[in-house]
Symmetry: C2
Subunit: 391 residues, 2 copies
């Protein structure tokens, strides 16, 4: 078990209203809980592993900013992870990265509110290349009006629904018509195709996942063929997630990967199996993201109650795992508490546990800071730069 | 269907980085989406209804601040809702309300980190009465040391586990021993008993819920008897939630109600039935809280995709409802999208829907602002004052 916390010798954090969970130099035992913590060694290993992959296979890596919403994590992905651009899902999120100097941003989503289109059309003023997806001709027209107003240009990609059933045009014919509309619109640059199969990513069994991805890739290939035939070959074909990127890579038709969760891992991706039958979190990737929590009640025999609940981790992908303690099971998470089954009563007040959240993206968005640790020591405290930016 | 949005005549919100979802005076159609919106008429009606109840029955109302985390909502609960105090679950959350001048705050939870106990012991400096719960003798000792350090006093309540199985002492004998320890500790005032049965609140069927609450009340009554016999009668007996407060009230042993969700309602409480068999959201209470979302894709026939996902509403209590449109069903919520089944294709790009989230507390904690509307007009924009304050 981790150490029990005691009053630190220095005074940091004892003032009412102190609202960061840690300061650089603190030990893990001194971090205020609940806190979103990063294991920097594990994070860097994950980034280097993906970097080696994309370099070996000649793929571009456009990491997903919606996962971490952090300028600092993105900078690390650029520095050691071969990231050459970022994708964001929302304009207000992209504004944060653009302001911070990120030079290649794709809004991998539809933007239809006229005011948000207007803000999107202003983003190139920060000096980078800005792209966006469309799945309707009216969107192309609205974008063209907005870029004319501001005098910049935008990259525009056709989004194709290759099986997830959410956004994206439904047929090759629609894709061709849309690509042509973009190509002909002043101020817009037809930049290619986005084709992302989100519902494949978490299929646990390797062959099942590969078959589902193959189906999506086949459909994408047909659309690319139609675009080529129409004289509109896509310069970029972008998509893929942490569960499927090896399949898109070997397809030969994708040029760019949009992986996000590989950097942090979570419990839902942890149960996904790789080609060798290893859990994602026990071979290819390491858990780098945790919610640090502390025992605040052991009044009920056989149970310990932690101080992290639904405001510190989200539950749509299931209960969190207790990292490093396969014998300890989280049985329930409520607004402010998690309950841990502890039949032998080993946990004591103040013991700290690292919870692996079910789903990293929305969990990160609950917190204002990442506490980045090197071993047992806080190396940095990073803001979740675009937290809450969902417009 | 709601109106389609267009560029407003004034320029508010067109600057990159504009980070409030609305300004007072805007119409509903101008609110940036996704946004957390309040129907002030419905909210005030809910507050007045609960006010009439507690006045009729002579109960104190200590509203739950963890639900809304908003100083402005609490002020309204004081002004028109008969609230005489607030409960918070965390010290950092209570600090926000204490700083704002709230004069009676109970931490309805265990606080065990020595630094957070130290901060708790400083809270009376803001001029109010501060209370906290305990379920272990060591907690009493730690609190006594901290109050001695700062020279204030704290109200301390014994927390009893009347059936929820989370925090709280397990027996009357433990409750008596703890009450005595508090009573004898310098600087601590033995203020009574907290007994809250959280797992009863959302039981849909009235008689089932009443029977489960009766069991919890019976156990609580036994503990109160033991405290009285020991010469430690509890001045305050506090607990109850929106699903059970009528039962605690009629028990004759509770003095104070801790309801929270009655003010806003949500989809999970909406399906709870009252004594007349009416849904909570169709008789006693009105939906006052919504996530306003906008259609951004209708590319897939029979479906509309909204711009609000898991970063705007939480899913541990299930899918959101589409307010005012029983014919429209939300079928999935992912990070940034919600999918609405729309077989007849009635929804168009830019249409705005009000989603009733499954669970109000963690949904509110996702947002930085409440947009408070009177009819179709934004009357106020309130910060979610204690958003993210979970230490």
């Amino acid at each position: 078990m981790a150490q029990q916390s005691s009053l630190p010798e220095h005074l940091s954090g004892l003032e009412p209203g102190f609202d960061v969970p840690a300061l650089p130099g603190m030990s893990l035992a001194e971090v205020f809980t609940p806190a979103l913590i990063l294991d920097l060694d594990a994070l860097e290993r994950n980034l280097r592993r993906m970097s080696a992959f994309v370099q070996t296979h000649g793929m571009k890596l456009r990491v997903h900013g919606k996962m971490h919403r952090s300028v600092d994590v993105y900078r690390l992905q650029e520095q050691i992870g071969s990231a050459t651009g970022i994708c964001c899902q929302k304009v207000s999120e992209a504004e944060v990265f653009a302001r911070a100097g990120v030079k290649d941003i794709l809004i991998s989503n539809e933007v239809r509110d006229p005011r948000m289109i207007d803000r999107l059309a202003q983003l190139p003023r920060f000096g980078g290349r800005i792209g966006v997806c469309v799945d309707a001709p009216e969107a192309v027209a609205d974008l063209a009006v907005a870029v004319a107003r501001h005098g910049f240009s935008l990259d525009v990609l056709v989004e194709y629904d290759c099986g997830a059933g959410r956004c994206g045009v439904q047929s090759a014919a629609e894709a061709v018509a849309l690509a042509r509309a973009i190509d002909e619109a002043p101020g817009l640059r037809y930049a290619g195709l986005q084709s992302y199969q989100g519902s494949v990513q978490h299929l646990s069994e390797f062959n099942t996942r590969r078959a589902a991805a193959a189906e999506a890739i086949l459909r994408t290939t047909e659309v690319i063929g139609a675009l080529r035939e129409a004289g509109l070959p896509p310069e970029t074909v972008t998509g893929a997630g942490t569960g499927s990127y090896t399949f898109e890579t070997s397809s030969g038709v994708f040029t760019e990967l949009q992986c996000g969760s590989y950097a942090f891992m979570d419990a839902d991706y942890g149960q996904v199996l790789d080609i060798e039958g290893r859990r994602f979190d026990e071979g290819p990737w390491q858990n780098a993201l945790f919610v640090l929590a502390q025992v605040i009640s052991t009044a009920r025999p056989g149970q310990a109650v932690l101080d992290a609940g639904l405001k510190s981790l989200t539950m749509e992908s299931g209960l969190p795992l207790v990292f490093g303690h396969p014998d300890l099971t989280c049985t329930a998470v409520s607004d402010e508490h998690s309950q841990i089954r502890d039949p032998e009563g080993r946990l004591q007040i103040g013991n700290r546990l690292k919870l692996v959240p079910g789903h990293c993206d929305p969990t990160c968005n609950l917190h204002d800071y990442y506490v980045a640790l090197r071993g047992d020591r806080v190396e940095a405290v990073w803001p979740v730069s675009a937290r809450g930016r969902s417009c």
